[in-house]
């Protein structure tokens, strides 16, 4: 049976898994952005915290994803089997690109513009929220886009700890030695990643100021 035939004949399961996958990614991305962007704002003014935060986020990124899921299972509260553990892992993965791009975006604003803002009598908070953040928004969005593409891919592994999603087909296909079943998970995941990349790319260009 070809993978297309398999997808068509199992379309309701594939759709349900895609929906599950998407929810997993959306929740993780929302949390990662809610942590990463504000943390990026904070570390701009705190060099010591910046070094620590970026180092921790970088190290997290280097842990193989399957191992990270494994590490989380025995942990109380955030661990265990299921979607919430997967979300914790996905958030940790998504953090670095968002945090780094927020920091880079905020620090790469033309110093002449910042000095003009200061000279006009804007307070540090006004400069941050009315000048720096809007001018950094496109770079921050680029970080969110990178994180989204990574998260959609890594989320397939979440099926290993019972989080569901498109990874379910991939693991099942590996066990059954069936390319058709693997592709029933891999193709929708790839389409999701391409779509996210395209749509967030549009948003990023809209935010760009020249």
């Amino acid at each position: 049976m070809s993978s297309l035939e398999f997808i068509v004949s199992h379309r309701s399961e594939v759709l349900a898994a895609t929906r599950e996958h998407l929810i997993l990614v959306l929740i993780s991305m929302a949390i990662a952005a809610a942590i990463g962007v504000p943390l990026g704002l904070v570390i701009v003014g705190h060099p010591r915290l910046r070094a620590v935060a970026l180092a921790v986020a970088s190290v997290l990124q280097t842990i193989p994803s399957l191992a990270l899921f494994g590490f989380l299972i025995p942990l109380p509260f955030i661990g265990g089997i299921g979607a919430h553990t997967a979300i914790v892992a996905l958030v940790l993965y998504a953090l670095l690109p968002i945090l780094r791009n927020t920091y880079v975006g905020l620090t790469s604003v033309d110093p002449a513009i910042l000095e003009a803002a200061e000279g006009m009598g804007m307070t540090p908070e006004q400069i941050l929220f009315r000048v720096r953040l809007p001018l950094a928004s496109s770079v921050i969005m680029a970080g969110i886009r990178t994180a989204a593409v990574i998260t959609i891919g890594v989320a397939t592994i979440a099926a290993a700890i019972g989080a569901g999603g498109l990874g379910t087909f991939i693991f099942r296909g590996v066990a059954m030695v069936s390319d058709a079943v693997i592709l029933a998970g891999a193709i929708p995941a790839a389409i999701l990643a391409l779509l996210a990349d395209f749509l967030l790319g549009l948003l990023e260009r809209r935010l760009r100021v020249t």
């Binding site: 003009a116 000279g119 009598g121 000048v131 100021v209």
Partner: protein, 252 residues
């Protein structure tokens, strides 16, 4: 004797104790309504001198007084909102429209919407731009001369008594520059503002300034009206004049 609106008292400015001071023993009084041209070569300290007035730099020793009060004793935000600041074209906020740029300080000062609207129209007309035509444009859609006009309008928006301009016309082509200089003179006649501007162009200093302050290596080496300036014997002044082919007579 009327009190000066801006006063430098024995100002020293240096970044580190081992390096040459950027400004040394600078004393200067600026009175209301004057247009002071700070003239000097790159690195002479003229921009630093300007930034001491709105607190973007702080003196190492000595004092800068604005309206009789030491800059260090001012609420820095209050001080800056009462001083218009124009820099070369990079100073406009690229993500804001012309109107948003111009009305920024009035908004921060919580002016009513009506007052902001009428002030916007007023200042844009005063720099020769149509308020309606430009209101929704972004800086990238403007020519260099238009951007500079908007920069001046923005500095004037909250009706400050003092206007600081850092090489305001430096990035413009000669024709546009001459046009803006003429307009600046006309504008200055209608406004009772004190203007301090930085330039390395002696022609501009003589044309726009009511007084020219010549800086060299962090010191004031001459203060003169434009009429006096062309007769100065100081070699640095002669160099400036000679470079612009404005020298009158030969000093002994």
């Amino acid at each position: 004797m009327i009190n000066p609106i801006i006063e430098f008292r024995q100002v020293e400015y240096q970044i580190s104790t081992i390096s040459q001071p950027i400004l040394s023993r600078v004393s200067l009084q600026i009175h209301g309504g004057e247009t002071i041209a700070l003239l000097g070569r790159s690195g002479s300290g003229k921009t630093t001198l300007l930034k001491l007035i709105n607190g973007l730099r702080q003196v190492s020793s000595g004092a800068v007084l604005v309206q009789g009060r030491d800059v260090r004793d001012w609420d820095i935000i209050r001080l800056r909102r009462g001083i218009g600041y124009v820099i070369q074209e990079t100073g406009l906020f690229p993500h804001l429209t012309v109107r948003e740029n111009v009305c920024l300080v009035p908004h921060l000062e919580n002016w009513t919407a009506d007052r902001v609207t009428s002030r916007y129209a007023e200042v844009l007309q005063s720099v020769g731009l149509s308020p309606a035509l430009y209101s929704q444009r972004h800086p990238r859609e403007l020519s260099g001369g238009q951007r500079q006009r908007v920069g001046v309008a923005r500095a004037l928006a909250a009706d400050p008594e003092i206007l600081l301009m850092d090489e305001p016309f430096g990035a413009l082509d000669p024709v546009t520059r001459a046009e803006l200089q003429r307009e600046f003179l006309a504008l200055k006649r209608n406004l009772s503002k004190t203007v301090v501007f930085v330039t390395h162009d002696v022609r501009e200093a003589l044309l726009l300034g009511t007084r020219v302050v010549l800086l060299d290596s962090g010191r004031i080496i001459a203060e003169a009206t434009p009429q006096e300036f062309v007769r100065l014997a100081h070699p640095v002044a002669r160099n400036f004049l000679a470079a612009a082919e404005l020298a009158t007579g030969t000093p002994e």
